[in-house]
Symmetry: C2
Subunit: 219 residues, 2 copies
DNA sequence: TGTCGTGGAGACAGATCTGTCTCCTTGTCG
DNA sequence: CGACAAGGAGACAGATCTGTCTCCACGACA
C-alpha cells in the first residue's frame, strides 16, 4: 500500500469511528486496528490525536460539501428548486444507516473550551454551507440573500439536530443481541428522522416565497 | 451538610462541568474535587458515572424548562407574543457566559450508540420543549398547532446550535493567560451569538403570521 | 458514654489512554 | 545484490479513568 493511501485509509477510518462514537470515546488503538495500520505509521503522518481529528474533519468537510452540492444540483436546475432540494438531500442523509448527526456539532460539544483549531474547522464548515445557501438565494433573486440564507441555514441545522436526537438508533450496529422489535424498525427509524427534513422543507417554502414576493414588489 | 444537600451539590457540579467540557472529558475525580465531596459519597448516591450523568440531565431538564417557561411567560401575556418571546429568552441564554450549547444535544453526540437511558432523557427533553411550543401554538389559534410547533422548534434548535458553533468562545474561562483582545470582546461574542436568535425570531414571525392567517381564512 | 451511620481522605486494582521506542520484515531503487 | 526507508507488531512509560476498599473522624442517639 502506498504512503498516501495509508494516510487516507487512516482518515476514512477515523471519520467513521468519530462520527459513530464521538471523539474522546474512540482511542488511537481502535482506529489503528480498524484501519489495519500500525501506530508508528499514524504518528509518522500526524503529530497527535488532535491533529488526526483536525485532518479528519477537514477531509470530511471537503467530501461532504462536495457530495451535498452535487446532489442538490442533480435534483433541480432552478435556484429556487435547488434551495428546496437542499432539504431533500438532507432527508436522504438522515435516513442513512450511518447518520449520527453533524460531526462538526458533535466535535464542538466535546471541544467547547478554548479557541482550538478544531473549533475553527467547525465554524468554517458551517460558514461555507451558509455561503452556498446564500449563493442560491442570490441566484433565486432574493432581495436580502444573506438574511434568507441565515434563516434557511437555521432550519437545516435544526433539522439535523432533531433528526439526530429524536430518531431512534439504527439498532443494526448495537451488537450480537437482536432486538425483539427489529423487524421493520429500520425503515420506521428512517421515516421518523426524515420527518424533520420535511418539516424544515415546508417551513423553508414559506420563507422563500415570502422573501421572493417581497423582492418582486420592489422597484 | 445534610445527606440530600450533598446529592444536589454533586449534581449541580456535574451539570456545570459536563456542560462546559463534555461528558467523557470530565472524570469522576474532577467532579469530586469541585463539589468538595468524597468518592464514597458519590458512589453511595449513584451506582456509576452513567447514572450520575443521567441524574444530572434529569435535574437540568426540570430546572431549565421551568426557568425557560417562567421567563417566556414573564415577557408576554398573549400566546402569539409568547411564541416570539421564546426567541428573546433564547437570546439571553446564548449571551450568557456559561452557554455551551444544549447539554442534551452534546450528550447524544457522545452517546450516540445504542438505546441508552441517556439518549432517552435527551429525546424526552426535546419532546417536552416541543410540547410546550405546541401548547402556545394552540392557544394562539393556529389551525395546525403541531405543524407550526415543529417548524418553530426546528428554528429554535438551529439557533442553539448556530450560536454554539459560530460564536467565539468566551475566553474568560480559559486560564490565567489573558488574551490581548479581551477588552470588549465579551460583548462582541454575546452579540454574535444573539444574532442567531434574532434570525430565528424574524423567521418565526413569518411562519406564525402565515399559519394564523391561514387559520383565520378558514370556516 | 457507647454504638452506629455518614462521610472525608485516599490507597488500590485493573483497565485504558496517548505517545515513544525497539525489533523485525518487506519492498523499492540504485 | 545491497542499502535504506516504510511499515507491522507490540513492549513500554506515564498518566488517567472507574470503581472498591480501608482507616479514621464526627455527630446523633439510646
Amino acid at each position: 500500500m502506498r504512503h498516501s493511501q495509508r494516510r487516507e485509509q487512516l482518515l476514512d477510518t477515523a471519520i467513521t469511528l468519530f462520527a459513530r462514537h464521538g471523539y474522546h470515546a474512540v482511542g488511537i488503538d481502535t482506529i489503528l486496528k480498524c484501519a489495519g495500520v500500525s501506530k508508528k505509521t499514524l504518528y509518522r503522518h500526524f503529530r497527535s490525536k488532535d491533529e488526526l481529528i483536525l485532518a479528519a474533519l477537514r477531509k470530511y468537510d471537503g467530501r461532504f460539501r462536495n457530495a451535498f452540492m452535487r446532489q442538490v444540483e442533480a435534483r433541480a436546475a432552478e435556484p429556487r428548486g435547488r434551495l428546496l432540494a437542499v432539504f431533500d438531500v438532507a432527508a436522504d442523509w438522515f435516513e442513512a444507516d450511518n447518520f449520527y448527526g453533524c460531526m462538526f456539532v458533535n466535535a464542538v460539544g466535546e471541544y467547547a473550551e478554548a479557541e482550538t483549531p478544531i473549533r475553527r474547522a467547525c465554524r468554517d464548515f458551517k460558514a461555507e454551507m451558509r455561503r452556498y445557501i446564500e449563493d442560491l438565494c442570490r441566484q433565486a433573486g432574493a432581495p436580502e440573500p444573506a438574511t434568507l440564507a441565515a434563516e434557511l441555514a437555521l432550519l437545516l441545522e435544526g433539522a439535523i439536530v432533531t433528526a439526530q436526537v429524536s430518531g431512534q438508533v439504527s439498532g443494526r450496529v448495537s451488537g450480537p443481541v437482536a432486538h425483539a422489535e427489529s423487524g421493520a424498525s429500520g425503515s420506521r427509524v428512517a421515516e421518523s428522522r426524515g420527518r424533520a427534513a420535511e418539516t424544515a422543507k415546508s417551513a423553508a417554502k414559506v420563507l422563500i416565497d415570502q422573501a421572493l414576493a417581497a423582492g418582486a414588489g420592489r422597484p
